[in-house]
């Protein structure tokens, strides 16, 4: 009775779907989060060897065989790189990228990670760091006596020192783009890693062709749309139920066959 296992693949797929949806909903307020989508593909087919069989005495030939599918599988969980809304926070070190581009982050193990979450802070030694204390690249020091930090749309960081009238440039924030941003690997903490699927990072300044602009005093919200997620959740739940109904039906039929001989 293949329909039992076919329906089981359907239930499994919907379960995966609900997992992805619940992760999206859980990250509704995560800065720089990109929603994901579970994508399904049909499994392989069993072709019952009847194609080309002679179907009548006059020699007519059956054009197609009977093809029975084996169910469904999760083909991929795809990250949808869509601009999230930006919210004004007024905080000097909240940066949002409008358009393409990710911030480069120096990981403790020396590798580079990438993020859209631009809610940075200043560390004790004057470095600009993420909420986990990882430094924003290329690194530069903010002077102790800086009273005001201005970051332009193209990433130039200027600091005004107490007692001085003019701000001076202390560094420049760079952005990176990937041709296939969806191919980056998420490692949690809003961080992403380069993979062979994503391609090599292309480093450039904000505002260059192909790069977005940096907005100071803004954060990029999660691009999860709650309405869309809830409707997807309802659809997934119903689909799960229907697959369960198929299992019930198959079971009933099996029971009838089993009880034939009383």
């Amino acid at each position: 009775m293949k329909s039992l296992s076919i329906a089981a693949t359907g239930m499994l797929a919907q379960q995966r779907n609900v997992e992805v949806i619940s992760n999206n909903i859980a990250n509704l307020n995560t800065v720089g989060f990109k929603r994901q989508r579970a994508e399904f593909q049909d499994l392989m087919y069993q072709t019952l060897e009847r194609a080309g069989a002679i179907s009548s005495a006059t020699g007519a030939i059956v054009p197609n065989g009977v093809q029975i599918g084996a169910g469904v599988k999760t083909g991929s969980v795809y990250r949808i790189i869509e601009q999230g809304n930006v919210t004004q926070t007024g905080n000097d070190l909240d940066l949002a990228v409008s358009g393409r581009g990710l911030f480069r982050i120096d990981m403790p193990d020396g590798t580079e990670a990438f993020t859209r979450a631009g809610n940075f802070s200043i560390s004790g030694d004057g470095r600009i760091v993420t909420q986990d204390g990882y430094e924003l690249l290329p690194g530069f020091a903010v002077p102790d006596d800086a009273v005001d930090i201005t970051i332009s749309e193209d990433g130039v960081v200027e600091a005004r020192i107490a007692g001085q009238e003019d701000a001076r440039e202390i560094g420049r924030i760079e952005l990176v783009t990937f041709f296939n941003e969806s191919g980056l690997e998420a490692i949690g903490d809003n961080l992403l890693l380069q993979t062979t699927a994503s391609g090599e990072p292309v480093t450039g300044n904000a505002g260059d062709p192909g790069f977005g602009r940096i907005l100071q005093g803004f954060i990029e919200n999660s691009n999860v749309d709650p309405v869309q997620e809830i409707t997807a959740l309802i659809a997934a739940q119903r689909a799960y139920e229907m697959n369960a109904r198929v299992i019930e039906s198959s079971d009933e039929m099996l029971a009838q066959s089993a009880n034939l001989r009383r």
């Binding site: 009775m1 359907g10 599918g69 041709f179 391609g199 689909a239 697959n243």
Partner: protein
């Protein structure tokens, strides 16, 4: 008497198969670009050697066919999701030759070629891979299939048609294989930021399920009754003896 049992059994076998097809449809109700599969039944007349005037009517399933009616369009706002409005299929390169799909959820690979989720390269109307400009950002699709980057056409999405889509064989992964000849569609209509949902009618599939269940029950009843009659005959005949 055995004929009634055979007829009942033949019905049960095709109903099992119909159930499997329905189960596969229900399992794939959220698979983008999926086309529902249906099983066709046919009567098969078996000559009864002992009685030349009567035939036993059996049933078999000579054919299962895909329902190629379009699914719904669901907006995703994703620049690399494409849907075909009307007939036609996207062409995807694979080791076993060109395969065809209605599932237009594409991405780019590390060199900028348009690929399916499992890495198969999507082909243009001439059958060549589609290379996008890495620097220029997401492409914009014109409704006739041309992909524009910075306002300049850089490639076109291939849409292919078949004289007889029945010649398409399912291959899994939302793909079809064909022995027939694919022709580039004359005037394809494409939408960007949309995907074609599965064309499985979930409600109809549920009623199919009930129908199959009841029909199976009836067939089981036929087998049961025939069996009872046979037993009854044996009992009575042995009494008379």
């Amino acid at each position: 008497m055995e004929n009634a049992i055979t007829a009942g059994l033949s019905r049960q076998i095709v109903l099992m198969r119909a159930l499997e097809a329905t189960a596969n449809n229900v399992a794939n109700q959220t698979t983008a670009g999926f086309k529902a599969e249906h099983v066709a039944f046919r009567e098969y007349l078996a000559r009864v050697p002992a009685d030349r005037d009567s035939d036993v009517s059996l049933v078999f399933d000579p054919d299962s066919y895909a329902d190629f009616s379009p699914g719904g369009l669901e907006q995703t706002h994703n620049a690399l999701d494409f849907a075909i409005d009307g007939d036609g299929f996207f062409a995807v390169e694979s080791v076993e030759g060109v395969l065809y799909t209605r599932d237009g959820r594409f991405s780019t690979n590390e060199v900028g070629e348009l690929v399916t989720r499992d890495g198969g390269r999507v082909l243009d109307p001439a059958g060549a891979p589609i290379l996008l400009d890495v620097e220029a950002g997401p492409p914009l699709l014109s409704p006739d299939g041309a992909l524009l980057q910075n306002g300049v056409p850089v490639a076109a999405l291939g849409v292919f048609e078949f004289d007889d889509p029945r010649a398409l064989e399912r291959r899994g992964d939302n793909r079809f294989r064909t022995t027939g000849e694919a022709k580039p569609a004359a005037a394809p209509r494409l939408s960007q930021g949309f995907i074609e949902t599965s064309n499985v009618e979930a409600v109809a599939a549920m009623t199919d399920l009930v129908e199959i269940n009841r029909a199976y029950e009836q067939a089981a009843r036929v087998v049961e009754t025939a069996d009872e009659l046979a037993r009854e005959a044996v009992r009575r005949l042995s009494e008379n003896a």
